[in-house]
């Protein structure tokens, strides 16, 4: 691979490229710098790139988790740390569950010709169309009065799994159809039962698809606000909910908000860097073959 050659491009092209990159990540960079500024610097008229970076805002956000007493945090809102833990638990568990369940369903649909791929694709698109704002009240009502799941992490996980399933099934199908059926037949000849075939042969082979799907599920489960806001009680609240709740009418603390925003953005950013290749294949597989 080291012998791979690249075309030479003219400098204008690179200039354009730099401009595009700045446009794409400029706002994120700005969020980062703002989160490192004191409020006085943020709201002062005189803008400058020269400022004293400070971790003050992060101290405020994470006050509960500091091993030292932050000197300038006058009032500690303990909810952020808890929300971070909730977000992680909810996002990870719902992602894992969605993948396993979705993968099994996609497999059944592809292999056993249950209903057409089209039905699933259509359902997926339809489900994507339902605005969460509308689902909110029915979901709350059902979760509360019929399932008794309100306020629990389990309840939130259930919605997220359900919300993400259609899309995951859709994406994974295109990966599973690519698994040669002969592999499964070979495994059957080798004496494997249906579940052995699935877990020992199919699942390991579609790992890239799983990775791609996981990123999308994670993104939704991590960022979702409306349903989490309705379903979570104070113990199961997630980070987006806490962010919105910290926007008071009386004083918007941009520094703290940007710091929270940064903290919220970090996991997806890491995810993106780790698995960017998979995201692309996943998206394209889903889109192109859908």
């Amino acid at each position: 691979m080291s012998a791979k050659t690249y075309d030479k491009q003219n400098p204008a092209f690179y200039a354009l490229l730099v401009a595009l990159v700045v446009m794409a990540i400029g706002p994120i960079f700005m969020m980062l710098t703002t989160s490192l500024k004191l409020n006085v610097d943020i709201t002062s008229d005189t803008s400058s790139l020269l400022f004293m970076p400070t971790l003050h805002n992060y101290e405020t956000v994470l006050c509960d988790y500091l091993w030292y007493e932050a000197p300038n945090v006058d009032y500690c809102d303990k909810t952020f740390g808890r929300a971070l833990v909730n977000s992680l638990i909810i996002a990870l568990i719902s992602t894992a569950l969605t993948l396993v369940i979705g993968c099994m369903a996609a497999y059944a649909i592809v292999r056993f010709r249950f209903m057409g791929r089209d039905t699933v694709s259509l359902t997926t698109l339809m489900m994507r169309m339902v605005p969460p704002a509308v689902l909110l009240v029915p979901v709350f009502g059902i979760w509360t009065f019929q399932f008794g799941l309100d306020g629990t992490r389990g309840g939130i996980i259930l919605v997220y799994v359900a919300m993400n399933l259609p899309f995951v099934i859709w994406i994974l199908q295109s990966f599973i159809v690519q698994v040669p059926i002969q592999l499964e037949e070979a495994a059957r000849m080798d004496g494997a039962g249906p579940f052995q075939v699935f877990f020992l042969v199919v699942l390991p082979i579609i790992k890239p698809g799983l990775a791609a799907a996981s990123i999308f599920t994670f993104r939704v489960a991590w960022n979702e606000f409306l349903l989490a806001n309705a379903l979570a009680d104070r113990n199961s609240r997630t980070v987006p909910v806490t962010i919105v709740n910290s926007l008071t009418e009386y004083d918007i603390d941009w520094g703290v908000i940007m710091a929270t925003g940064m903290l919220l953005a970090i996991p997806p950013i890491i995810f993106t860097f780790v698995a960017s290749r998979q995201i692309i294949t996943g998206m394209t597989a889903g889109a192109v073959k859908g």
């Binding site: 008229d45 009502g141 509360t144 806001n229 309705a230 009680d233 918007i252």
Partner: protein, 422 residues
């Protein structure tokens, strides 16, 4: 464990209360430990942005068993909650000798607030009257005052506005004489904020949304005058005023971009905090200027016990403790907004917060009928808000705008059955 008296049976109970993220309730958080220490009752606080809090409560109160023992509600939620029979009538508790504190002195509570926030079922359904009863107690209630830059006003020899003419003159004069500074920072963002800003001027200028027969009169002269006043203020205000929510407006003022700010008293503490404000110490406070009458905002929050609460008695005890003379003073000293006349008269408080006297004075003019607190208000409020926003940003004619609002409001009221008896 040593907690005697009325609190003994409830020591060890944990109450869960739901309150907004608001300076007053931040102050409350500072006094709660005192309550726990005195009574042995633990309190867990769930703090939310107030509109989200309202959404959450709407859902929460429909449950059979609620999470919250005590809720703080936005004043206009009173109509919804009471109408849906989701709040406890406080009579039950005040009648209970084991719970009611004889020294409570309910008369000391600011009556405008009690009428506005606490009582339902009387005149027009949401005002006191022979048929009314008490469902909540004001806590963190607010009225509007005029905050202005003493230094700027002095520099240019402008007098503190006493009436609307002076106010509007000052608002537009300042940008001319003080470069880069707007006259008054006001809320104006589309929706609730613009509506709020409009109502702020409607009452003093003699207007009402409905007359006593529920006919919309928002489009009468007073209404148009209020709209024009708001437009003048916003046009002469600091840059970008048209999208200001209260926080941006307050920030504009505290960063020195506006010379006046007329809004809730709750902002005062922020202006005086030198870590956040550049104008600390330079701000003077005055009564909401008079139009054809005085009529300042009644708003803010009250506290109530949900029907589906699980520790109602203990919740009542907390409620009573918080709104008692002692509790009110404590929260005021911590930076909250008192709800009792006696607190405003307290010398200690006045020493710490010099503006308290002005606020106490302002409260006498708090107008309980500042806005109609009826279930259809949400829709009408939103309509006023978007229409006002159009007046402010798209040059829609105020009369035309308000005529439209009136027409739509009438349709809404009609549908809701307000004209059944006519």
């Amino acid at each position: 464990d040593g907690h005697g008296g009325p609190y003994a049976p409830y020591a060890g109970t944990t109450l869960v209360i739901n309150v907004p993220a608001h300076p007053h309730y931040n102050a409350m958080m500072k006094v709660l430990p005192q309550f726990t220490e005195e009574t042995g009752i633990e309190v867990e606080v769930d703090q939310l942005q107030y509109l989200k809090m309202r959404e959450r409560q709407t859902l929460e109160l429909t449950k059979d068993e609620g999470d919250y023992d005590l809720i703080s509600y936005v004043v206009f939620s009173k109509a919804d909650y009471v109408f849906a029979d989701q709040l406890e009538n406080l009579a039950r508790f005040f009648m209970n000798p084991k719970l009611a504190d004889p020294a409570y002195d309910a008369e000391d509570l600011i009556d405008g607030y009690v009428a506005n926030i606490g009582i339902a079922g009387g005149f027009k359904g949401y005002l006191p009257g022979a048929t009314g009863s008490l469902f909540g107690i004001p806590y963190g209630s607010e009225t509007s005052v005029l905050a202005y830059r003493k230094d700027i006003f002095e520099k240019h020899g402008i007098a503190t506005p006493e009436n609307y003419d002076q106010l509007l003159d000052a608002a537009c004069k300042i940008p001319e004489v003080e470069e880069g500074m707007g006259g008054m920072a006001s809320r104006a963002a589309s929706g609730h904020q613009a509506s709020h800003a409009f109502l702020l001027h409607l009452a003093p200028l003699g207007g009402r949304v409905f007359d006593d027969n529920w006919e919309p009169i928002i489009n009468n002269e007073a209404g148009v005058a209020a709209a024009n006043a708001l437009k003048t203020i916003v046009d002469c205000g600091p840059e970008g005023s048209q999208t200001f929510g209260p926080s941006e407006a307050a920030a504009a003022f505290s960063q020195g971009q506006a010379a006046m700010f007329m809004d809730s008293i709750a902002f005062a503490a922020g202006f005086e905090d030198p870590t956040k404000s550049k104008v600390a110490g330079k701000v003077g406070y005055a009564l909401h200027p008079e139009g054809v009458r005085r009529g300042s905002q009644t708003g803010g929050f009250g506290i109530a016990i949900p029907k589906n609460a699980q520790n109602k008695e203990a919740a009542f005890l907390l409620m009573q403790w918080l709104t008692s003379k002692k509790g009110d003073l404590a929260v005021a000293m911590a930076g909250g907004n008192p709800s009792r006349f006696s607190t405003y008269e307290n010398a200690e408080l006045n020493a710490k917060y010099p503006y308290s006297a002005t606020f106490g004075e302002a409260l006498k003019y708090a107008d309980p009928d500042w806005r109609p607190i009826i279930p259809t208000w949400g829709k009408i409020n939103a309509d006023i808000g978007t229409t006002m926003s159009q007046v402010l940003t798209e040059g829609l004619d105020p009369q035309e705008a308000l005529d439209g609002v009136a027409e739509r409001a009438r349709a809404i009221m009609d549908e809701a059955g307000y004209y059944t008896w006519q």
